[in-house]
């Protein structure tokens, strides 16, 4: 599994970890990881610790996630991004939409 999800015991926080290449091939898994939840979590963390690469369709997937989580009112954080991944996020100025660390 290259997309692993974990929901906190109180169901408030969803953590999605992506491993390897985060590209169009992860589309289905990534979407299902939050769509299949019975209840929308208050906050979502996307953990990219083990993501090696991220392409523009991954950026699109992050936008879909943000939209699903409530758009401008959403709380989506992207954590543990490597320097390569962070460069890509920086070029796209996604730090204006997501809390990236």
């Amino acid at each position: 599994m290259s997309v692993v999800t974990e929901v906190s015991p109180d169901g408030q926080k969803l953590t999605i970890s992506v491993k390897g290449r985060f590209d169009f091939g992860r589309h289905q898994e990534f979407r299902e990881s939050y769509e299949r939840l019975p209840k929308k979590p208050d906050s979502i963390v996307v953990d990219l610790k083990e993501a090696t690469y991220l392409d523009s369709s991954a950026l699109g997937m992050l936008l879909l996630l943000r939209d699903h989580a409530g758009g401008d009112n959403s709380d989506v954080r992207v954590v543990n991004s490597s320097s390569d991944v962070r460069k890509i996020l920086a070029i796209s100025n996604f730090d204006k939409l997501f809390d990236i660390t």
């Binding site: 169009f24 090696t52 690469y53 392409d55 523009s56 369709s57 950026l59 699109g60 997937m61 936008l63 879909l64 939209d67 401008d72 390569d84 920086a90 070029i91 796209s92 100025n93 996604f94 204006k96 939409l97």
Partner: protein, 567 residues
């Protein structure tokens, strides 16, 4: 288990007794039987009746089984017609010959019915598998042709739209794969009415048709608004709003938009999500990065969208280089990215600026061994204004309803000045007067200069002498943004008056502002050189319009345009 469909089986056997025995066995298993007494007969029967499977004796008169097998395989082509050799041969060399001749299996004499039935069944499975593979291959090929044809048609239509601009202008060099559109890459260029050049390099998310669909509306907005004289900010707002409206949430377009002004010797840049572009100053060899400061187009709502641009001064011969992420994201066999550092090494090693693309391509090949199909690069250089030859716009109306005697006055106040650019509307209005159309470029340039002088030096009180050097140039545009943001009061008034005059007519433009004015006498003393970075506006207006004059201590400008014969 699936019931076996009856097959047509050809039996080639020179012994009449064996032939009869085999025929009986095979028929009893439910198959149709054709018989031949030697290889030549077998080939002939095969040609006429196309059996599904062949049982072939190896040793026969006239033509032996080996030769017959070769000929039948050749006739069958891609279709698998299994050949089972019937043989009393036992040496392994002879058995190998059966397979080399195209046989698929062999059956030792005397015949064992159970094994024969099993072998026929197994061969039939193979035969069906091959038929399915062929059928699917043909289907895929058909779909592929269909898709290629669709792409060809879509590309032809799109090229008509995309290349309606000025990509072929002498100062533009670009490199794009022929089907870049289907990789989401988009390159557009067009002249504004004032003779500036707008260039867009964009990159839609994804590949294939989804990546290409957004290109058409984007190109339409780009060309439509550029031709009407809208600036980068308005064009960007419209493009963003349109893409936001029509694209799904996960689709967007990274883009860099440039406005190259040959008159002002500057480039205005907006970069949303594209890799750094570079402004290459030839004199110093310096490359100023044009970094992404914004989210891509189609992500933010119209309210949240940020249209702020940066302006850099340029000298004639300076170049702006833009590239798509296909260049820096090209990866080698071990998933290493080409990256910005390697690109900058190519810049550093580049000796002939005209060979930059080739140097980059070579570096990509050395790095990876094969080129990616979504590499787009464009380089635009700043020409002397005299070298620029924008194409004349084409008007479609008949010229029967040309208004020749009218005047109109506008007053644009604080909140309007912040956001609204009235120039395209004013120009559209004036171009209803057909006699003015021949001078639309000069007319727009003069209107634009007068308006921006009134706004920037008048209402905003910006000091044009700031623009004397490159650092001041940047500071000037920073101050312009800040003061415009904070603007409360002030106005710019535009009065237009059109009157018939003999066979032709005359237009008087007056532009007034609420600013402090300037020392008219001192500015008018300057020679009409137009070389310095600062104060070029006034000398441009004096060169392009007639009887340019300033009154009310510089707060009111007046200039005329006239024409002789009704166009």
């Amino acid at each position: 288990m699936q019931v076996q469909e009856p097959l047509t089986i050809l039996i080639a056997e020179d012994s009449a007794a064996d032939r009869l025995l085999l025929s009986t066995i095979v028929r009893r298993q439910g198959h149709e039987v054709l018989t031949a007494a030697n290889g030549a007969e077998a080939v002939d029967l095969f040609r006429r009746q196309q059996p599904d499977l062949v049982l072939m004796d190896a040793m026969m008169p006239v033509m032996d089984g080996f030769e017959a097998a070769r000929q039948i395989k050749a006739l069958a082509g891609e279709t698998l017609v299994p050949i089972i050799f019937l043989t009393s041969l036992t040496e392994s060399e002879a058995l190998a010959r059966c397979l080399e001749a195209g046989g698929d299996d062999f059956l030792a004499k005397p015949y064992n019915q159970v094994i024969l039935a099993a072998k026929i069944k197994a061969m039939d499975r193979l035969r069906r598998l091959q038929a399915t593979v062929l059928q699917q291959r043909d289907l895929i090929a058909k779909h592929h042709d269909y898709l290629l044809n669709e792409q060809r048609v879509a590309k032809a239509v799109f090229d008509k739209v995309a290349h309606s601009g000025c990509l072929s202008a002498a100062n533009i060099r670009y490199l794009q794969s022929p089907y870049a559109l289907f990789n989401g890459d988009l390159l557009l260029a067009a002249y504004t009415p004032a003779g500036d050049m707008h260039v867009l390099l964009g990159d839609f998310t994804g590949h294939g048709l989804p990546a290409a669909v957004g290109a058409m509306p984007l190109a339409e907005v780009f060309y439509g608004m550029t031709a009407k004289g809208y600036g980068l900010a308005e064009t960007l707002r419209e493009m963003n709003a349109k893409l936001k409206r029509i694209l799904p949430v996960d689709m967007f377009c990274c883009a860099t938009l440039l406005c190259l002004s040959f008159q002002r010797r500057s480039v205005e840049v907006w970069n949303g999500g594209m890799p750094d572009g570079y402004l290459h100053r030839i004199a110093s060899g310096e490359r100023v990065p044009l970094a992404a400061r914004h989210l891509p187009l189609g992500v933010l709502s119209a309210q949240a969208f940020d249209d702020r641009t940066e302006v850099h001064p340029m000298a004639a011969g300076d170049r702006v280089f833009l590239l798509s992420d296909g260049v820096i994201d090209t990866s080698d066999a071990s998933d290493q990215l080409f990256g910005v550092e390697r690109l900058q090494q190519v810049f550093a090693a580049n000796r002939e600026p005209d060979r930059l693309f080739e140097d980059i391509e070579q570096a990509l090949r050395d790095f990876r061994g094969e080129a990616r199909d979504d590499v787009s690069m464009v380089e635009v250089s700043l020409l002397e204004p005299a070298q620029v030859k924008p194409s004349a716009p084409v008007y479609s109306d008949s010229g029967q309803s040309c208004p020749l005697d009218w005047s109109v006055s506008f007053e644009f106040r604080g909140a309007t000045l912040k956001r609204f650019n009235p120039l395209p509307y004013l120009l559209q209005l004036l171009l209803e007067v057909h006699g003015l159309r021949a001078q639309s470029g000069a007319l727009y340039s003069v209107l634009a200069e007068l308006y921006s002088n009134a706004l920037e030096h008048g209402v905003l009180g910006l000091d044009s002498s700031l623009k004397r050097d490159a650092a001041g140039f940047a500071r000037y545009y920073q101050q312009r943004n800040d003061r415009l943001e904070a603007l409360q009061d002030g106005f710019v008034r535009v009065h237009l008056q059109v009157q018939p005059q003999g066979e032709g007519g005359c237009l008087v433009i007056r532009v007034e502002d609420s600013g402090k004015g300037f020392d008219v006498a001192r500015v008018m003393e300057r020679p009409l050189d137009g070389v310095r970075l600062s104060g070029r506006g006034v000398s441009l207006v004096r060169q392009l319009g007639r009887n340019a004059s300033w009154s009310d201590e510089g707060r009111s400008a007046r200039v005329e345009f006239s024409w002789e014969v009704e166009a």
